[in-house]
Amino acid sequence: MRDDYRSSRRALDATDLARVAVMAATIAVLGLPGSFNVFGAVPITAQSLGVMLAGAILGPRLGALSVVVLLALTATGLPLLAGGRGGLGVFVGPSAGYAIGWIAAAFVIGLIVHATPYKPTVWRTALGVVVGGILVDYAFGIPVQSLVTRLPLGETALTSLVFVPGDLVKAVLATLVVVGLVRAYPRAFRRTWQPRKQRDTDDQVQAGR
């Protein structure tokens, strides 16, 4: 197992390729009909949760790549986005910027979550998913939406505030899941972390490192 895959500029190996494929497919699966309920009976599309998880689990390079793979398949006419959307139309519609922004979002999330050689903490993970999954994605989405619909930037930003509560819920979920995964299945991240405290070392011994 490699020590730090942020610094590695080598080509993908077969396992990287499979992990990219599996996370790309996961983002698609999270958009399938029969959506999940988060609080009570509010059905939401969980696709941006998939993007947050891809960045946090795979790291910046592979996380962004998995989104590229998903978008490339979508562009070829597979109805992989929430609500069975797909085809080239996705990339000329008002939400095109949000979809393209997912690439940068996954990259930034990966950068922040994998920023140190230590295990990601709750707060670093939360910071990563909020900055990448919400701020960066909106930074791409709102200008493109404004350009496509020709509604001025300020007004477009106002209308997109509707989606902020849902995205915050997904950021909380992503944080809980990522932190849980660090504890329960550290192999998921395919890297090792330096021990920070005595307790961390014990965790790694228990995990069989």
Partner: protein
């Protein structure tokens, strides 16, 4: 996997994929440059009808595409009507609808495999930048074949969750699902390595 492709025959089907993509993007771009006025909205509707009213497609299909985009149109129109006058709002909503339905022609008349091949061919010049088109194509097709496997896995996890009275909580779904999926990825990686993928 059901794609958005509809088998058929006609001018749009016979056009080579690369040219068809370029042509449709040029038309979409031209439509986007029209000013937001009533007559421009009329021109856009006319362009849509002209592009769909050819042998092999038909106006019924145009109706289906527009219906599929109905929520995008409604949300766009509603947002615009709050801030702009009706002429701007209608013209802008018409432009969005036109762009989506015209772009839909490509996926409607080209099989996904043909589009994947075109993507691979279009990526050939990128090989000089260190991007391997064959590896990219392999990643796309591995993802494609993994999709049904993961969809089934997701259903299994969800059923187990419901059977234990776990409700429909996304959080309690995501953990076991991700563990299973990432284990599957490790096995898939080994299987690919055994078959000669470095």
């Amino acid at each position: 996997m059901v794609t958005l492709y509809r088998p058929g025959d006609g001018p749009w089907y016979r056009l080579p994929t690369g040219w068809k993509t370029a042509l449709l993007l040029v038309v979409v771009l031209a439509v986007c440059l029209l000013p937001p006025t009533w007559w421009a909205a009329g021109v856009m509707a006319a362009v849509c009808v002209a592009c769909y009213a050819v042998p092999g497609i038909g106006l019924r299909e145009l109706g289906r595409q527009a219906w599929a985009a109905r929520w995008i149109v409604v949300v766009t129109l509603a947002g615009q009507l709050i801030f702009l006058d009706p002429e701007h709002a209608v013209a802008n909503a018409a432009r969005v609808t036109t762009a989506i339905t015209l772009a839909g022609l490509l996926t409607l008349t080209t099989p996904a495999t043909e589009l994947l091949d075109t993507v691979e061919r279009a990526m050939q010049p990128l090989a000089r930048l260190g991007l391997d088109p064959q590896r990219a194509a392999l990643t796309l097709s591995v993802t494609l074949s993994t999709l049904p496997v993961l969809a089934r896995l997701a259903r299994d996890v969800r059923e187990a969750q419901l059977a234990r009275g776990g409700g429909r909580s996304l959080r309690h779904f995501a953990m076991p699902y991700l563990v299973m999926v990432l284990k599957h990825a490790d096995e898939l990686g080994d299987a690919l390595a055994v078959r000669g993928v470095r």
